[in-house]
Amino acid sequence: MAAISRGSLPRRAAAVLAACAAALSCAVRAGVLPEDRADLLYHSYDGGGVTIDGPSLLVRKQFADKFSASANYYVDRVTSASIDVVTTASPYTEERTQYSLGLDYLHDRWLLNLGYTSSEENDYSASTFSVGVSQDFFGDLTTLSLGYSLGKDEVGRRGDSIFKDTVERQQYRIGLSQILTRNLIVGLSFETITDEGFLNNPYRQVRYIDETSPLGYAYEPEVYPRTRTSDAAAFRLRYHLPYRAALHGEYRWYTDSWDIGADTFELGYTHPLDGGWILEAKVRLYSQTAASFYEDLFPRSRFQNFMARDKELSTFDSRTIRIGASYDVLRGGWKFVDRGTVNIAYDRIRFDYKDFRDLRVTGVPPGQEPLYGFDANVVQVFVSFWF
């Protein structure tokens, strides 16, 4: 399987890059650098026995007319008593810290960007380099962007100083943004991602029927393939209504070499009010099919080469309802700050699993436990300043 994945990807990537390079040759208008801006965000996730919160600070500043630098500091503080943890392990807390640096360079008609991200937690570290380029065409009605990322991860396992493995990840992106009318803008994006290395969670286990066990089943470690290749394509649009408000819609198609297929739909509405308010509402629907080697309950130990019981690889759907508000606090500016906003957003996400069962319920035959599902509350509070 590894040979097949490695063999097909470079050909695909080469086709993408060749098409894009050809398209880039007829640019007619320069791009612009991103705005100077600082954002300080507090995020909180609470659902399925897991709470995660922390800050994110993002600062971006132009210099020397042609450059814009950005830096991001992000923290996840995790307390987990998820269903996997309470059924097969012990609750834990951990912290993940991520640093990102970016540089944009505007040259003639090209906007080039470089990025580096580093993430650290006690049993996993990741580094990613990225490069991208974008360009406008047709009197700036069309923007085409290309991107490539290379990630190197190191995987460890708490309490096991011997275990160490790696993951290499490559991402190829292409995006197109097109103004169609004075009220309508549409976007297309496509991304191929390929991973190679240790791709499963070193702690998670599968269960299999074991009639000698009091529960009727027992656990053993998951085993995943060491390669994965995925393709995702998205179409999105934004429409300015006859009054000052905007509708946006999105559809994303996804498939991968593990047989997961997914569809994502989004529909949103943005409505400014007098006095500096902007209100926002969104609905998101997501559904996926299971990986080919996923089972909630395997017939026996080591039933097949690859075995997973990760609910993220199961058949499930999720539904999100989002509401948000933004208030302009510094419309007249203050000292070196041109303007500022205070923002809050709340997302409620419902996950319903179709073939992942709730093992907290005992006293029923294996495989007859109720299906699992949970609600998550996601809150973001942040301030933004433009200078």
Partner: protein, 86 residues
């Protein structure tokens, strides 16, 4: 890997390559096309509420939330820009 998975893994890139080829042809053939939405007609497109990504710090976080809990990944961004109003 099953034969079905191989087929599904190959179908996407093939279709995408065809779309990209058509796209490249359209772009190359249309270099001389006059912009049909004039710069002075882009006031609504330039409105901040029409931005693909009004608050990057927030959207990056939410993508992270979904990618950690869903099997699908990628194609979450947009080409950016496209306003042409600067």
């Amino acid at each position: 890997m099953t034969s079905r998975s191989l087929q599904s893994a190959r179908r996407g890139p093939t279709a995408a390559a065809a779309v990209l080829a058509v796209l490249a042809t359209l772009l190359l053939g249309g270099c001389a096309v006059e912009p049909w939405v004039k710069p002075y007609e882009r006031d609504r497109i330039a409105d901040p509420i029409m931005s693909w990504d009004r608050d990057p710090v927030s959207s990056a976080y939410l993508h992270h939330v979904y990618e950690a809990r869903e099997g699908a990944r990628g194609a979450t961004g947009s080409a950016g820009g496209g306003c042409g109003c600067n």
